[in-house]
């Protein structure tokens, strides 16, 4: 029964144009609020002897004066930082259809889980017998991620996707070494994310690019031509960065394995297939996941994330350690795999991010995770269908969790570029889509609405995008006007580098 106090058509909750703004001034830096003698700090009374610094540090090592930071009272600090938060868009404020980034709403229960003192205050060198809760959590999460990906074993240590990639490539190298083989090349598609080729180089391999065909999928003929005994592996993401499912994946896996190469899965797009299909079943040997995309670890303005790596049985012994393992008596201990490539993190990875992911998996369960994928793919296809006819859809096949549109035609007609659309979307109360990625689409707008946006929000997103496409030539170039600052001069930032307040005060 609908309450008559509620509107018949719900308002789009993902639209943030009502966010309050107090003024149009710049926020001063914390350094400008500083004044000698002011302070916020206070410390515990310890009752310890009050030796002077000169009694504790040899004179040659002791600094002359304290490091100059700032001198501000807590009230002013809080005001400054709170005003900074008001100059920041976020998922909690509104929709964030940033393709490839999976900016879904992250349930608040995960925040609470990660701030439990019994998790947050544990020293990493605590003897295993006194942190059994943590080891159990890591072990459980690792098992769940293996089930989701269809793999045998996993390390949770890599702190982000790119770190997972490099870990995976080093596993690939260790595998080939163990086979007495030296291979030199790794194949990636031309639509790959930039971290893929960068990681390939850091893994000591040479990147070989395979083009996409006119379906937007890996060109099988070109792939076969590039596959030889020098190829250590192929790195793919499926769905790929065009949001398309690589339908020939079984064939690709067979072709890779035929020449002794391994198949690597960039899990940045795992959200689309949760509970539907699994990289392991597709034939992948190594999988990294971005828990900060798929498993509701919030992005934190650019991190921290978590990039666990799961592998098939033949690679298990090479995983980085230590790994949490359950013994026959039900207690948990750290183990190091027999032929481990070694450590990849100071400790065990971004543990509190892992705790968030575990709470998210518990809340969703197996059925809920499949629902996530269904919601993500439904929303993406629905929004795409609303935009068809207004924007180019260069590879118009059934989309998975995201799709790529383009302003190519509009650019010829009215000069509208992807960048302009992005800036206008900010005025419309939304974050912009990803632009100019993947590189194989001109004037790309990569749109990933995620499963957590309502149909009214999708409709509002569609209306905004359609409105922008219909505007008179040149209109969008003025955007954004309602944001805390207008279009930012990026060239000036690079030309006159001011990366600290000190550089601002003493221009070189």
């Amino acid at each position: 029964m609908t309450s008559e106090h509620n509107a018949r058509v719900p308002a789009p909750a993902g639209r943030a144009t009502s966010a309050p703004v107090m003024g149009r001034d710049s926020e001063a830096t914390i350094f400008e609020y500083s004044s000698p003698g002011r302070r916020a700090w206070s410390f515990r009374s310890t009752g310890l002897p009050e030796w002077d610094a000169s009694e504790l540090v040899a004179p040659g090592l002791l600094r002359g004066a304290p490091v100059e930071l700032v001198e501000v009272p807590e009230r002013d600090l809080v005001a400054h930082v709170t005003r900074l938060t008001h100059r920041q868009y976020s998922v909690d404020l509104g929709a964030y259809p940033l393709g490839s980034c999976t900016m879904k709403y992250n349930p608040k229960l995960c925040d609470d889980a990660a701030s439990l003192p019994g998790l947050a205050n544990v020293h990493p060198a605590t003897p295993a017998s006194h942190c059994q809760g943590w080891l159990e959590l890591l072990w459980s999460l690792s098992n769940a991620l293996c089930e989701v990906t269809g793999m045998k074993a996993a390390t949770l240590a890599p702190p982000a996707g790119a770190a997972g990639e490099l870990t995976g490539l080093l596993l690939m190298r260790a595998w080939h070494d163990s086979q007495g083989e030296t291979r030199t090349k790794v194949i990636i598609p031309d639509s790959a994310h930039g971290t893929n080729p960068a990681s390939v180089t850091l893994g000591g391999y040479e990147t070989v690019t395979v083009p996409s065909d006119d379906r937007g999928l890996v060109d099988m003929t070109a792939l076969r031509n590039r596959l030889d005994g020098d190829v250590a592996g192929i790195m793919l993401t499926n769905p790929n960065t065009l949001g398309l499912f690589e339908e020939d994946i079984a064939e690709i896996a067979a072709a890779a394995h035929d020449v002794g190469a391994l198949l690597y899965y960039d899990g940045a797009n795992l959200n689309a297939i949760l509970g539907v299909t699994r990289p392991g079943d597709m034939g992948f040997d190594i999988v990294h996941m971005n828990l900060h995309k798929t498993f509701a670890v919030p992005h934190g303005g650019g991190g921290p994330g978590a990039g666990p790596v799961a592998v098939s049985a033949r690679l298990e012994d090479f995983l980085p350690g230590p790994l949490a393992q359950r013994g026959d008596d039900g207690t948990f201990a750290w183990v190091n795999p027999a032929r481990s490539i070694g450590r990849v993190h100071s400790w065990y990875g971004n543990a509190l991010a892992l705790a968030r992911a575990w709470s998210y998996i518990l809340a969703n369960g197996g059925d809920g995770l499949r629902r996530v994928a269904e919601g993500a793919v439904l929303n993406s296809n629905w929004l795409k269908s609303r935009l068809r006819g207004t924007y180019d859809i260069p590879f118009d096949r059934p989309a998975m969790h995201e799709f790529v549109a383009s302003t190519s035609t509009l650019k010829k007609q009215t000069g509208l570029r992807a960048l302009d659309v992005a800036k206008r979307m900010l005025e419309e109360g939304f974050h912009a889509p990803t632009v100019y990625f993947p590189l194989i689409v001109e004037e790309a707008l990569m749109i990933e609405p995620t499963e957590t946006e309502s149909v009214e929000t999708l409709e509002a997103l569609a209306e905004a995008l359609i409105r922008i496409a219909g505007e008179v030539a040149g209109e969008a170039a003025h955007a954004p006007r309602s944001t805390p600052v207008g279009r930012v001069d990026e060239a000036l930032a690079a030309r006159r580098l001011q990366a600290t307040w000190d550089a601002v005060c003493q221009p070189s």
């Binding site: 705790a355 709470s359 059925d367 805390p484 600052v485 600290t500 307040w501």
Partner: protein
């Protein structure tokens, strides 16, 4: 089942109808049948929020920390106070739920906070440039080596044997890909013995100050070793000790790296932590990770934006010298808040208080029968001692008494190790005389 997809059944039906589909399954028609997971995921059904909270609390209760296990352990993770201001501001959802600031016009909050963070790190390091964070101390060191390596070929790296053993392990893991030859320089009495370096032409020399044993190194000796070979000097520093010590830059570092956890982040079972990274101005074009610069908007107002982007993986791809994309921004923002809260006098006071606690504890422990110095070199906030009982046993027994006594450490072939005969003890500003006296008394008991 999860309840984070907002649609009602009616919404879903309507949306499917709009797409001409009969079921949600049809959305996945492109997935070949043979690849479908017909059985569904073998995970438990989803739980309600209170049920999840209950389970997470059960796991948390199976760990001991805080007053149950009073912390005298350090070794790269320190039990500092995280004040309410840092905790509350650092968990504001505007910071927590934002993405990387790709659209600067709606990301000024994160960008300005990072600009202020960079300023603080640059001042702590005594170097002109600091980036917007890396994953942790170990990864920051790996990036420093890649930055120092000759752009053409593989390079030899001299790494102090008193650098954190886990960091050295990470460096060696990643060297398998980069091809760098990692040469670990042995220690003598807790300090790096640069005279013991084998012949070779290093591209970088890495030293920690204070080092893993809490010892203050002779950084000028490392500088001399670097100069002899035209190598870059990388100094790993501790941001709290920085309150008392001369900066890495002043001591000759070209690149400074560090673990930023002590700046407002709880011990968190080892992560997420914060990789501090600073370098000389003339190295900026090879800087790994993101860099925020100040500029103007169209109306001439101050604005902030990520800059010198052509260094990064999304533009340079296989030619990039670093693959970092997602970093540790939120932890960097917390560090910026923490450093503002401490301020000029607070950081100095914090360092002093840690050093006082360490001195008091060390002297008291050395008063116990059979306890000896592990190394004689001067230390600051952390120190290693030899006990009449094996350190691992001491840690286990002390845990029963309600203390995390420290970390068992040792030296093998001149190189620092985790696990060993000695006990590495760290004392932060949170430890009171009463706690320390009880701790020392208990150590006396368990080593008898």
């Amino acid at each position: 089942m999860g309840h984070f997809v907002p649609h009602s059944d009616a919404d879903i039906e309507r949306m499917l109808a709009d797409l001409g589909l009969a079921s949600l399954d049809e959305l996945f028609a492109v997935v070949p049948d043979a690849l479908r997971l017909a059985r569904g995921l073998a995970l438990e059904p989803g739980r309600s929020e209170p049920d999840v909270a209950f389970e997470m609390e059960r796991l948390a209760a199976a760990n001991r920390c805080g007053p149950e296990l009073v912390c005298f352990a350090g070794a790269g993770a320190y039990d500092h106070e995280v004040p309410a201001a840092t905790r509350r501001l650092g968990s504001r959802s505007e910071f927590v739920t934002a993405y990387t600031p790709y659209q600067p016009e709606v990301s000024q909050g994160v960008l300005q906070a990072l600009f202020e963070y960079q300023t603080f790190v640059s001042r702590l390091a005594g170097l002109e440039i600091a980036n917007a964070s890396l994953y942790d101390g170990a990864s920051a060191t790996v990036e420093a080596l890649n930055m120092a390596a000759s752009p053409k070929g593989h390079s030899t790296m001299w790494v102090s044997g008193a650098l954190h053993p886990n960091w050295r392990a990470v460096i060696k893991t990643f060297a398998a890909g980069s091809g760098h030859e990692i040469v670990e320089i042995p220690t003598r009495d807790g300090r790096t013995d640069w005279d013991a370096a084998p012949p070779g032409e290093p591209a970088a020399v890495v030293v920690a100050n204070p080092n893993f044993f809490g010892v203050l190194e002779d950084v000028s000796a490392a500088r001399t070793a670097a100069d002899l070979h035209g190598a870059a000097l990388v100094v790993a520093f501790d941001p709290v000790s920085a309150g008392l010590l001369r900066t890495p830059g002043e001591m000759g570092a070209d690149i400074a790296v560090g673990e930023g956890q002590p700046l407002g982040t709880p011990m968190s079972f080892g992560g997420p932590y914060l990789g501090l990274f600073a370098c000389r101005r003339d190295l900026v074009r090879r800087l790994p990770g993101r860099l925020v610069g100040r500029t103007r908007d169209v109306a001439g107002r101050n604005a902030y934006v990520t800059t010198l982007r052509a260094r990064e993986q999304d533009i340079r791809r296989e030619k990039a010298s670093s693959n970092v994309c997602t970093n540790q921004t939120l932890i960097a923002v917390a560090a910026m808040i923490q450093l503002s809260w401490l301020g000029t006098s607070g950081l100095a006071e914090l360092a002093l208080r840690c050093a006082r606690g360490a001195r008091y504890t060390r002297e008291a422990l050395l008063g116990l029968p059979g306890v000896e110095e592990f190394v004689t070199a001067a230390t600051l906030r952390e120190f290693a001692l030899k006990l009449p009982v094996d350190a691992t046993t001491v840690v286990e027994r002390m845990a029963e008494e309600g203390f995390l006594a420290g970390v068992a450490v040792g030296v093998e072939s001149g190189l620092a190790t985790i696990d060993g005969e000695a006990l590495l003890v760290s004392v932060t500003e949170r430890r009171t005389k009463e706690q320390i006296d009880r701790y020392v008394e208990c150590v006396g008991k368990v080593i008898r």
